[in-house]
Subunit: 208 residues, 2 copies
C-alpha cells in the first residue's frame, strides 16, 4: 500500500504519505526509529523529495509527534465518553480517572507513539496546538484541565490548590507510563500494571 509505485511524476499527497510512513516507524520503534530515507523508500520516492515537504528530519519527527499526540487525545476521549451521567462530583471524579486511564492505556497499547507524543521537544503553548488535538478538538492537556475544573466546581478540589494541579496529575500518570514502557518497569504483567495504574490514580485523587 505504502510501497505502491506511482506512474505519474507527481505523487499527489507526498507529505501525508511520508507522514504516514513516519507514524508507522514511530509505532514500531518510537521517535528515534523515524528515518527519513526509509520514509521516502516506503512511499516509492527519492530521498530528497522529502525536503520539499519537511525542512529536515526533525520537522518530520515533529509532525509525527503531533499525530501521535492526536491519537493519544483520541484514546483519552474514548475513555472520557464512557463516563455515565451522574452528580457533578461523580462526573468530575470519573472524568479525571478517565484521563488517567486513557493516558495509561495509550502508553500500553502504543508505546512507540506514546514516546513520539511525549518525549519530543515542544513547549507549553504547543500543548494546546490544535494539531495535537483529538477528534473532539481538545488536546490531552486540555482534557485534563477540564476534568480538574469540574473537580473544583464540584467542591472536590480546593480552589487554592487548582493552579498547577494539572501538572501534578499529569506528572504522576506520565511518570508511571514512562517507567512502564521504557523504564525499569517494562515487562510487568497486565494485572500488576493495571493495579499500579489504579493505585497511582487513587493517589492523585486523594492527594491533589
Amino acid at each position: 500500500m505504502s510501497i505502491a509505485q506511482r506512474t505519474t511524476y507527481r505523487h499527489g499527497d507526498l507529505r501525508q504519505a511520508l507522514l504516514d510512513a513516519g507514524i508507522d516507524m514511530a509505532r514500531e520503534g518510537g521517535p528515534d526509529a523515524v528515518v527519513l530515507r526509509e520514509a521516502t523508500r516506503r512511499t516509492g520516492v527519492s530521498p530528497n523529495a522529502a525536503y520539499r515537504h519537511f525542512a529536515d528530519r526533525e520537522a518530520l519527527v515533529a509532525a509525527v509527534s503531533d499525530a501521535a499526540s492526536s491519537a493519544s487525545a483520541a484514546a483519552i476521549e474514548a475513555e472520557w465518553d464512557t463516563v455515565p451521567a451522574g452528580t457533578p462530583a461523580e462526573t468530575a471524579h470519573a472524568h479525571l480517572r478517565a484521563v488517567g486511564v486513557g493516558y495509561l492505556r495509550f502508553a500500553r497499547d502504543e508505546p512507540g507513539l506514546f514516546r513520539a507524543a511525549y518525549t519530543v521537544p515542544s513547549d507549553l503553548e504547543e500543548a494546546f496546538s490544535p494539531r495535537k488535538a483529538g477528534p473532539g478538538g481538545r488536546t490531552p492537556f486540555q482534557l485534563l484541565s477540564i476534568a480538574l475544573d469540574e473537580m473544583v466546581a464540584a467542591g472536590l478540589l480546593p480552589a487554592e490548590r487548582r493552579p498547577g494541579a494539572e501538572l501534578c496529575a499529569w506528572s504522576a500518570v506520565h511518570g508511571l507510563s514512562m517507567l512502564v514502557i521504557e523504564g525499569p518497569l517494562r515487562d510487568l504483567d497486565d494485572a500488576t500494571l493495571l493495579n499500579a495504574g489504579r493505585q497511582v490514580i487513587d493517589m492523585v485523587d486523594r492527594g491533589l
Copy 2:
C-alpha cells in the same frame, strides 16, 4: 585532558576513558548524543579500539546509563544527609521529601545525565544493581524504598498501601522531571519549577 595523545601503544585504562567521554557527551545531549566514534576520538584512539571494551554502542550507552544512575543516587544521598535528627515520623517525612527533591534537583542540574539514567532500557532487577548505586552503596530506588519503610514504621502509611507505593511516588516525581526537562514544561523559570516540585511532593505525601 581527554585528548591527551599517548605515546605508548597501550592506553592504560581505555575502558574508563571511553566511558568518561561517553558521560561527557551524555551530559551535553542525553543518551542519543553518545557517539562511539567521537568517544574514541576524544581519547585519541582508533574507532575500533572501543570494541575491545564494549560489545557495541548500546553497551557503551548502558555503561553511561549506570554511571548516570550512580550520580543521581549521589544527588539524592546528598539531600538525604541534610535531614536533621527528629522523631521517626519527622525523619520519615523528611527522607521521602529528600528523595523527591534530590531526584528533581538532579533532573534540573543534569538533564542529559538524567535522561541517560532513566530512559535507557533496563529492567527492574537492574534498578538494584550496585553499578547504579551512589557512594553510599544504595540505588535511587532503594533509597526510596527505605524512606517508604520508615513511613510505615512511623505509622504514616497504612501497611496495606505499602506494596507498590514506591511505584506511585517514583512515578509522580519522575513524571514531573521528564515533563520539565524534555516535555512540554521546559523553559519554566526556577521559581515555578521549585513550586511545582513542592506541590507534587505534597501530593505524594498526602495521597499515598
